[in-house]
């Protein structure tokens, strides 16, 4: 039988959740025995080469590219996991959610105290993804099957949940592994 396939990505996140994933330490060796990785920054595979069993999503959606990628993950992965505060509720990027996009862009590119932009140009190359009106939690864009809170989620929680999903057994989390910070 072939091994379950995992894919991961970081949308509007800081890669902290991926760092915490690496923090499972020597259990990575066990993981490699159990699964195969596909599209993920961990192995640097940039495009899906097959359908996957588990997709881990770090970060929420702050631009059109994030939405595109999240929808692609939904199509390609049987189980999709929101992995970290940003994926679940937008996290620190969502602190802009009660400020208008216009005001955000002006502060960042025109009037911010450290900004030098003599031509007063807002980024407008059509190659660039469009910024969204606000940052969206992943489950407001597609259906997410599991949520792992934490900034980042503890390595122990990541391991317990992944392990259970891979072996298709019940997830049992001890009190200390669930943290929102």
């Amino acid at each position: 039988m072939s091994k379950p396939v995992i894919a991961t990505t970081s949308l509007a996140g800081c890669f902290g959740c991926h760092m915490s994933f690496l923090d499972i330490d020597d259990r990575l060796l066990d993981l490699i025995e159990l699964v195969e990785f596909n599209k993920s920054p961990i192995d640097d595979i940039k495009t899906f080469t097959k359908d996957c069993d588990i997709g881990l999503i770090e970060g929420g959606c702050c631009n059109t590219e994030n939405i595109h990628l999240l929808k692609e993950f939904r199509k390609r992965c049987k189980i999709l996991v929101s992995f970290g505060e940003c994926a679940i509720m937008g996290g620190l990027p969502a602190m802009r959610n009660d400020i208008s996009v216009k005001e955000c862009l002006e502060e960042a590119y025109l009037s911010g105290p450290s900004t030098v932009n003599e031509d007063k140009i807002l980024p407008n190359d059509e190659e660039l993804p469009m910024i969204l009106d606000r940052v969206y939690p992943c489950h407001e864009i597609v259906k997410m099957d599991y949520h792992l809170p934490g900034c980042p989620p503890t390595a122990d929680m990541i391991w317990i949940v992944l392990h259970a999903l891979i072996l298709d057994v019940d997830i049992e989390l001890p009190y200390e592994v669930i943290k929102y910070d």
Binding site: M95, R134, P149, K179, Y180
Partner: protein, 242 residues
């Protein structure tokens, strides 16, 4: 002698002093009923509904309802636990709770309830309501994003004449907690600290002491809210303050 009454909680026979509130009566019988707006030693307000139980099949708040002879109380049922989760989830989506950036994280009772209930994500959409931060006072600041309007500060933090130092301002969605203009001016260090401790969340904070306790040593890092130890810790702190 105090009059005793007998009643049942989840079919377990219990006794307590007549007239004591259900939460306290349950605790005396070794049963924890989750609470949030309730604060030991202060008149209950019944504002958060986290403590909802069923008494003779009707929903009631356990912090404001006195026990009576023959009551049949339900606490730990699937329906009530789901309702409690929903109340906590509503509070998380109604305010803006960025726990990773909050000084109260680890010591916060709202967060502690979510940990105890193992809430992985709220079922309701996040509102991202616009709230601001008032840091104008020299000693404390309010982060309105986190206020759950429980009135614990109003009920428990008083000056020597028994006057509340905090008050509600505005109405409905615009309600904000604020310091009384006059009494706020003379806020002592001691009362500032007390206000921070009374507030179950990170809405009232004393300036310049944030993140003092290392991760791992905070109140709810290892021990769930409502277990023997945390309950003792909380009531011990109160004795300290009285």
């Amino acid at each position: 002698m105090e009059k005793k009454v007998t009643f049942t909680i989840d079919n377990k026979e219990c006794t307590a002093t007549a007239g004591s509130f259900i939460v306290d009566a349950a605790r005396k019988n070794g049963i924890y009923i989750p609470t949030l707006c309730n604060y030991d030693g202060v008149k209950p307000a019944g504002s958060c509904r986290v403590c909802t139980v069923k008494v003779n099949k009707r929903h009631l708040t356990a912090c404001t309802t006195p026990v009576a002879e023959g009551m049949e109380i339900e606490v730990d049922t699937a329906e009530l636990n789901d309702l409690r989760n929903a109340v906590v989830e509503l509070l998380f989506t109604e305010g803006n709770h960025y726990c990773p950036a909050c000084e109260k994280s680890g010591d916060c009772e709202l967060q502690a309830l979510a940990y105890r209930f193992q809430i992985m994500a709220p079922r309701f959409p996040f509102q991202f309501n616009e709230r601001d931060i008032d840091a104008s006072h020299p000693k404390i600041y309010h982060d309105h994003n986190r206020c759950i309007l429980c009135k614990r500060c109003i009920r428990a933090v008083k000056d020597k004449d028994g006057k509340s130092i905090f008050e509600f301002n505005n109405r409905a969605k615009e309600v904000r907690i604020k310091l009384d203009d006059k009494l706020g001016e003379t806020l002592s260090d001691e009362l500032a600290l007390k206000a921070m401790e009374v507030c179950p969340v990170g809405s009232i904070l004393v300036k310049e002491i944030g993140f003092k306790t290392p991760i791992g040593k905070r109140k709810f890092d290892r021990i769930p809210i409502g277990t023997q130890e945390t309950t003792e810790q909380l009531s011990h702190k109160e004795e300290h303050h009285e």
